[in-house]
Structures are given as structure tokens and as C-alpha cells.
Symmetry: C2
Subunit: 415 residues, 2 copies
């Protein structure tokens, strides 16, 4: 074909990629087992025949896999479903007690330790507040907390703990000032490898993920995830953070901070450019209350302790909604998310008001050509970060929400 000649374009630069590995039966079986478990989790309960239809695997293959999973105690059989022609089908569901997992949420004002079961229910929890977090205190809290919770389990139950997932803010030393910590107090965090330190004191695998990303993961798995394949997620804590779900999977990005969203430039009430986190964070409300001589302590403890703080809270919600609306438009201009999910460390009634205000503010913006996502409330709530953390060990070992076979699941695992 020498007659075909044309311009060549720029030559390929030296590749740095190391693509995925090849496939073999062992991996195929591991994948199919996870697929079965994930399908069961997603639908609550499915018969072997259902799984065969939904997975495209043969009935026999599914039969074999599910028998093994049942024998291992991961699946249990429900009551036979009669009323249709043919042999009654036996719905299989996840055995809630098959796997437990610890979730540790570290915040600027409080820490939570939860024990979650295989179906995402919180079975025990511990809570601690502080003016600002310090590594030693956190370490003490998590080790004594795990000890205490485990003391209430029997040997069999303890052996079923898949690990500990930590949901923590990255770069805690930044914005120490905004949170009212004494100068320099947060600097210790610079040299702390929390995952390693905790892993050294705990006999389970330890996982670490950004706190907002974790909350997003909880929303994906236990909240609106099944209804929306792509969404941008905002979690309003002491500082606002967020996460991104693409193709029904958390996208955590190169540095693990995709969807951080905090530094996004928006215009404030006066038309000045500010970063989103300077407006739509709880520390802003806290400072507003303090300026007005109102005690902000109810904000710290539990979301249920919030009261209606009246005017300052209303201003904060309005300002935040305005900023969130702009953030959503910016996000939608970059990725055509089907939803924007807003949740936070506050009670449901605050979330409702925040979401409605954001919907109203979004309507005032120039939306020509923008595929606007549905703006909705998160379904998980204030505990989302701890739940997301706790789900890390479980997903790492038993489940998959990605249709990906050979890529390592990208939570870093310690030890």
C-alpha cells in the first residue's frame, strides 16, 4: 500500500503506563464470586436463577458459586417463593453477621468509631468530641474503642471482622486557624502516618480514605447510589468536602482527593471571588454564632443536638446555597452528572432547607447549554463518613461495584 501516504502526526512520547494484567480462571472465579455477592447486596435478595439471568452466567456456574458462598456463611437462604409455575425459587440474601467491619471517622470536632455489619447496619458505636484532634488522643480512642467493642463480641464474631476503615480529612494542618486550634498545635499531623500508626496497634487490616470521599462512598452503596450512576457529592462538615461517583463507582483520582471541591472559586454575596469552603462550611456558622454571642457547642456533639439558631443560621444557609449552586453548575459543565447530592453533619431538617435553597439559587443562574443534575438530599446522613470508612474493608474483600476485573481496588491497605 505504498501509494497511501500522508502526514504523520507527532510521535508518541515514552509511555509510563503499566496497564492491567491478563485474565485467567482463578481471577475469573474471584471476580464472579464478588459479582454474585454484589448483585445480592444490590437487590437485597436474589435466587440462583435470578443471578444467572442478571450475570449472564450459566445456571450451573451460579449454582456452584452460590453453594460455596452459602457454605462459607456469606449467603443465607430465605423462604421459598411459591405462587409461580415451576419449582419455587429460593431467594438468597447476604448474611448480616457474616462480616463485620470497623469504621473510624476523624473530624475537626469529634471522632466516631462504629461497628458495621455485612449489610451496612451500624451495630455499635462510640463517640468522642474535642476542641481539635491530636494523633495520640485519636490513637487512644481507637485502640480502647476497638477493645471495648470486641469485648462484647464472642470469638466467632471477632474472627469475622474484615478490618478497620478510617475516614479522615487530608492535610489536617491546613486551616487550623479557622477551626480555632492554637497556633502550631495541628503541625504534629504533618509527620504522622495515621494508617501505619493505627495498623501497628490493631490486629486487622487498616484502610484509609478521605473523609468526604468516604461519605460519598456510603451514599453510593447505601444511599442514592443505586438510582444515580454518576453524581457529585457534597458533605458539609466543619469544612465542606465532596466526592465524585462515575459509572457507579467512586472516582478518587490521582491524589485521592477528587471531588475535594473546597477550593472551587465561587462568588459570595458581595460578588467577590472566594473559595467554596470559606462559605459553605460549618465552621463559618460556628464563627457567626460566636460573633453574636451564641454558644456553638450544640454543633459539635451530635447532629440531633442542633437547634434552630434563627437569623444567623438562615443567613448561613442562604450564603451556602448560593455557593453550592455555583459549584453545581461548574461541576455540571465539566461532567454531566445525573445528580448533585448534598449531605452533612447536621440534622435532616437543616439538610432539607439547604437543598431547597440550593435548588432555588440554581434556578437564578445562567444555565444555557448546561446539563443540570437533579439536586437532591443525601439519604445516609451525618454518619456517612464513618459508614463509608467501615465499608472499605468489606468492599475490598467481598464486593465490587465496579465492572472492573483486573484493576486493584484503590483504597490503600496497610500492613
Amino acid at each position: 500500500m505504498s501509494s497511501l501516504d500522508g502526514p504523520e502526526h507527532t510521535p508518541v512520547p515514552p509511555p509510563i503506563l503499566n496497564p492491567a494484567g491478563g485474565a485467567n480462571q482463578v481471577r475469573v472465579r474471584a471476580y464472579n464470586e464478588r459479582l454474585v455477592l454484589s448483585l445480592v447486596r444490590l437487590y437485597g435478595a436474589l435466587s440462583k436463577a435470578d443471578i444467572a439471568r442478571r450475570s449472564g452466567l450459566s445456571a450451573q456456574t451460579v449454582s456452584v458459586i452460590m453453594r460455596v458462598l452459602e457454605k462459607e456463611g456469606l449467603l443465607s437462604r430465605g423462604a421459598p417463593v411459591r405462587g409461580r409455575v415451576g419449582q419455587p425459587s429460593i431467594p438468597m440474601h447476604l448474611n448480616p453477621d457474616a462480616v463485620y467491619s470497623f469504621g473510624l471517622k476523624i473530624g475537626r470536632r469529634s471522632a466516631d468509631l462504629v461497628l458495621m455489619d455485612f449489610v451496612g447496619r451500624i451495630r455499635m458505636q462510640l463517640h468522642q468530641t474535642y476542641a481539635y484532634p491530636l494523633p495520640d488522643e485519636i490513637l487512644a480512642f481507637v485502640t480502647s474503642g476497638i477493645e471495648e467493642i470486641e469485648s462484647r463480641l464472642d470469638d466467632k464474631q471477632r474472627s469475622r471482622i474484615a478490618g478497620l476503615g478510617i475516614a479522615a480529612p487530608f492535610e489536617l494542618w491546613n486551616w487550623a486557624e479557622e477551626v480555632g486550634a492554637p497556633p502550631g498545635a495541628m503541625e504534629v499531623w504533618r509527620d504522622v502516618d495515621l494508617q501505619a500508626d493505627i495498623a501497628a496497634r490493631v490486629s486487622h487490616p487498616v484502610f484509609l480514605q478521605n473523609d468526604a470521599t468516604s461519605a460519598c462512598g456510603a451514599e453510593l452503596v447505601f444511599g442514592v447510589g443505586p438510582s444515580y450512576p454518576d453524581f457529585v457529592y457534597f458533605f458539609i462538615g466543619s469544612f465542606i468536602g465532596g466526592g465524585i461517583v462515575l459509572n457507579s463507582a467512586i472516582f478518587s483520582g490521582r491524589t485521592g482527593t477528587a471531588g475535594a471541591i473546597g477550593p472551587l472559586p465561587v462568588r459570595d454575596r458581595n460578588g467577590e471571588t472566594k473559595q467554596l469552603l470559606e462559605i459553605a462550611s460549618i465552621f463559618v456558622l460556628e464563627n457567626m454564632l460566636r460573633e453574636r454571642g451564641i454558644d456553638p457547642e450544640p454543633l459539635w456533639y451530635s447532629a440531633d443536638d442542633w437547634v434552630d439558631f434563627g437569623e444567623p443560621m438562615e443567613v448561613w444557609i442562604q450564603d451556602s446555597a448560593k455557593a453550592l449552586a455555583q459549584a453545581i453548575v461548574a461541576a455540571a459543565s465539566i461532567v454531566d452528572f445525573s445528580a448533585a447530592v448534598i449531605d452533612g453533619g447536621f440534622p435532616d431538617w437543616v439538610r432539607s432547607r439547604m437543598v431547597q435553597a440550593t435548588i432555588d439559587e440554581a434556578a437564578k443562574l445562567d444555565l444555557q447549554g448546561v446539563v443540570m443534575p437533579e439536586i437532591i438530599e443525601g439519604a445516609v446522613g451525618a454518619q456517612a463518613r464513618a459508614i463509608g470508612g467501615a465499608s472499605l474493608p468489606i468492599f475490598s474483600r467481598y464486593l465490587t461495584d465496579q465492572n472492573v476485573l483486573f484493576k486493584e481496588i484503590d483504597h490503600a491497605e496497610g500492613t
Copy 2:
């Protein structure tokens, strides 16, 4: 474990997902074959032993697969490499003539039809300009063009054509005004299913993708892609558009327009909020030239025909750079891209000035907490859209850059 009790969170809403299918040997083989071809493409040439190491497959497996691929003519062997201990390795490379593919780029001012080979080289090309595009003219151009190009191929070559990939703007009828089309002239596009119409006249599989997304795909495969696993891509054509690469794969989103970027709100020179496309598009430069009585026609034909238009062009570059810098910060706040790639339907020297200006403008912005991407020039250039289009049929059938085994490759295929 009845002693373990805790609050339950909101129950799962009815799922709508239909997750991926299960795995079996047939799919494994198909996947491994694509993996081998993709590795060879990425690295230019690799021996069987290299592939075995990089894929994690056994040498024997790779040997069998590659022998088949060689027999099918997709791979050919290079000269044995001596100079190292042991049997000399035989580098295998893609046979450029194993597969051909047509790429059709439809623009607001011109259309291109290219014939691309298996290694991404353009082997023939045709070009047509117009004041504005109309379906019938496009249809005539593509059918006669394909006929002409095929007439210069022999039977064997014709049989190796994998298909036709179209890179076209979505919603052509919008912004008809900005491009100077007579009122209503572009409305015909509303009722046209271009993919179907062309598929009915062409004997090859037809693929369709947004033009900017296609350009982005070309950059991923033939440009900077191998060096950057995630990047946001801007293609400055008559209208600016863009694309997104995540995990070394095009992310095209729910509506196929992820990374459209055009509607992103930015501040213009005067501090007013505008959409990115109202500033950083070639039609803006065109109008500026026309206002100053300068003939803008050189902009339309080929990128090589551009001349330095002096002051108005400088203003356009500055304005565009300012807007692009803001867009990059917004994008980086949402996803921690490793690079922001700028390319366009203009000559290389314009691209260089645009990128440098954008780097300068970005430095002036508030970047606290933002993980800024590297701002770099595209390596493919003005033909990126057509090349990206032409690569659709090839990737659909022979290659994979995603580590994904069971998800359908998401270019829609017609007929």
C-alpha cells in the same frame, strides 16, 4: 448476635442498575488478545517475553495468543534484537496495513474525511469548506469521499476497513447565530439522525462521538495520553469544547458530553460572568476580525493558512487564556487532573502562545488548596477530531485502553 443493635439508616431505594456480566474463558481470551494488541500499540514493539512480563500472563499463553495474531496479520515480526545474553528477542509490532478506518470530522466551517491505518497514520484525506453545514451536503461529501478513497484501494485493502467514525458537534442548531448561519437554516439538524443516515449509505459499521471528545481521544491514544493518566482537554474550534480522560480512558458521561466545558461560567475582562465558549472560541476571533474589516476566511480552510492577525488576535489570545485559566482551576477543584491539555483548530504557533498565556494567567489566581494540573500543549493538532473519529472503529474491535473486561465499550455502534 442479638445484643448488637444500633440505628439503621435510610433503606435502599429500588435499584435501577444492571451491572456487568460474568466472566468465562471466551471473554478472557478476547480480553487477553486485546490486551496484547494494546500493549504492543502502546510501546510500539514488544517481544512475546516482554508481553508476558507486562501482562502477568505466562509465556506460553502469550506465545499462543501472539502466534494467532501474527497469523491473522495483525502483528508482524521485526528484526531479532541481539546483544544481550540469551536467545535474541523478536519484537512484534502492529502491522500498519492490518486495519484501516475512516474518520469524518464535521465542523461549523469545514468537514474532513481521513483514512487512517492501524498505527494511527493518516493515509489519505479529503477536505471541504462551507459557510455552514447542511445534512445533505455532508452526506454527499462522505459517500462520494469514501467511494473515491476506496477506489484507490485494492480488494484486500478494502476488506480491512474496520468502519467509519464520525466526530461531530452535538446540537448543531444551537449557536447558529454566532456562526453566521441564516436564521432557521440549522434547524434541519434537529430531525437528522446522522449516524443512521450515513450508516444506511455506507457498507461499514458507523460510530458517532462528540467532536471535542473525539479530539480528546486522539490525544489520549496518539498524543500525551501515555504520559498522563488523567487530564482535562480543551479543543478550541469554531466553538470551544473539551473532553475528560480518567484512568487513561475517555470518560464520556451519561449524555456523551462530559467535558463539554463550553457553558462553564467564567469572568471576562470586565469582571462579568460569561460562558467559556463566549470568549475562547474561534468564532469570537472571527467576529473581532470582521469588525475591524479584516477578512477572516484564512481561519476556515487549513490551520496552516493562518497568518498573524496582530492586535485583535493578541486580545483574543489574552481573553481566552484568562478564561481558560479559570476553567482549569474549576476543573482542578473537582477532579485532581494531572494535566490540562490545550489544542485547537489553529497552527502550532498559536497554540504555543495560547498555552503560555494560560500558564501566566493561572499563576495570578487564588490556588490555595488546589492541586493544579500541568498546563501543556496538545501533541496531535488540528486534525485531532478526525483522527479521534477514525480511531473509534479500531478501538471498538481490536484494542482497549481501559482495564475493563466486561463493560461494553461505550461508543454507540450503528447497524
